[in-house]
């Protein structure tokens, strides 16, 4: 990927992520998150993760965000009162975030070039990132985890229904 495409995707992604955190109304947060997830899907596509990019759009931008918007509508929140200002907590949170970005970012910038491997731009084998390659790994080496996942989803469905059900009627 050329740096131009990278920044075309990365800068809006960061801005919309900030929109999720800073927007007053939850609906605006949710819509910002949808845009950020779509941009992320485009970036996955650029990184030869075609199947993951498709899943990102279907599962995240589709299913999960619809769930969020449904819950926001169900709750029918009144215009949210301005959140109790806690300047100290806010300042500490911002300081820790900046510290985190600086430390991990610097570590990535300085440590990663030493990592062995063909690099992001090297040519890939023909099937890399395709559904076929993903499925081949998923159903051989990670088969057990895959089967456990189905149990997890079943438990989550039952749990969600039980928790969200109206009790006592």
């Amino acid at each position: 990927m050329s740096p131009l495409v990278f920044f075309l995707l990365a800068i809006p992604m960061v801005l919309f992520s900030l929109g999720v955190v800073l927007a007053r109304s939850p609906v605006r947060s949710a819509l910002s998150l949808v845009v950020a997830l779509f941009l992320l899907a485009a970036m996955f596509f650029q990184l030869d993760a075609h199947m993951i990019a498709a899943l990102q759009v279907i599962v995240y931008a589709g299913a999960i965000m619809v769930l969020f918007l449904f819950v926001i509508m169900l709750l029918n929140l009144q215009q949210e009162p301005v959140e109790a200002a806690r300047p100290a907590q806010r300042a500490i949170a911002v300081a820790f975030s900046v510290l985190f970005v600086l430390s991990v970012g610097l570590a990535a910038l300085r440590g990663l070039p030493a990592l062995p491997g063909p690099g992001v731009e090297g040519a890939v084998a023909g099937a890399f990132g395709s559904t076929e390659a993903l499925a081949e790994r998923l159903f051989t080496r990670h088969l057990f985890a895959f089967e456990v996942t189905s149990v997890l989803l079943l438990v989550a469905i039952v749990g969600a229904v039980v928790v969200a059900r109206r009790l006592g009627k």
Partner: protein, 101 residues
């Protein structure tokens, strides 16, 4: 000129920090939850970028599992938020303090 893998990791770090910031400074349970989704996606980006750099598919398989867990977590979490709202008429994390020391 090409984009080195470390740039992707810096971007992922940035997204993760923004998500963490959202969890820390927002009091609305739903927005906090969306921030957690943002953090999960930041980690997914790091996984995909490193899978591309190392040319192994296992990173993408891991992203697949993260997405599954995120979907399960979203369903259960939103159900809990609904239940809390039904009992307390609020989604403000500061007012849900029954278990706070």
């Amino acid at each position: 000129m090409t984009v080195p893998a470390s740039w992707y990791l810096v971007l992922a770090t940035l997204l993760f920090a923004i998500g963490g910031l959202g969890v820390l400074i927002r009091r609305n349970l739903i927005v906090m939850f969306m921030s957690i989704e943002l953090m999960l996606n930041a980690v997914n980006l790091a996984f995909v970028a490193l899978a591309r750099q190392q040319h192994v598919m296992d990173g993408q398989v891991m992203v697949f599992f993260v997405m599954t867990v995120a979907a399960a977590e979203a369903a259960v979490g939103l159900a809990i938020i609904l239940a809390v709202f039904r009992h307390r008429e609020t989604v403000n994390a500061d007012e849900v303090n029954l278990l706070r020391w």
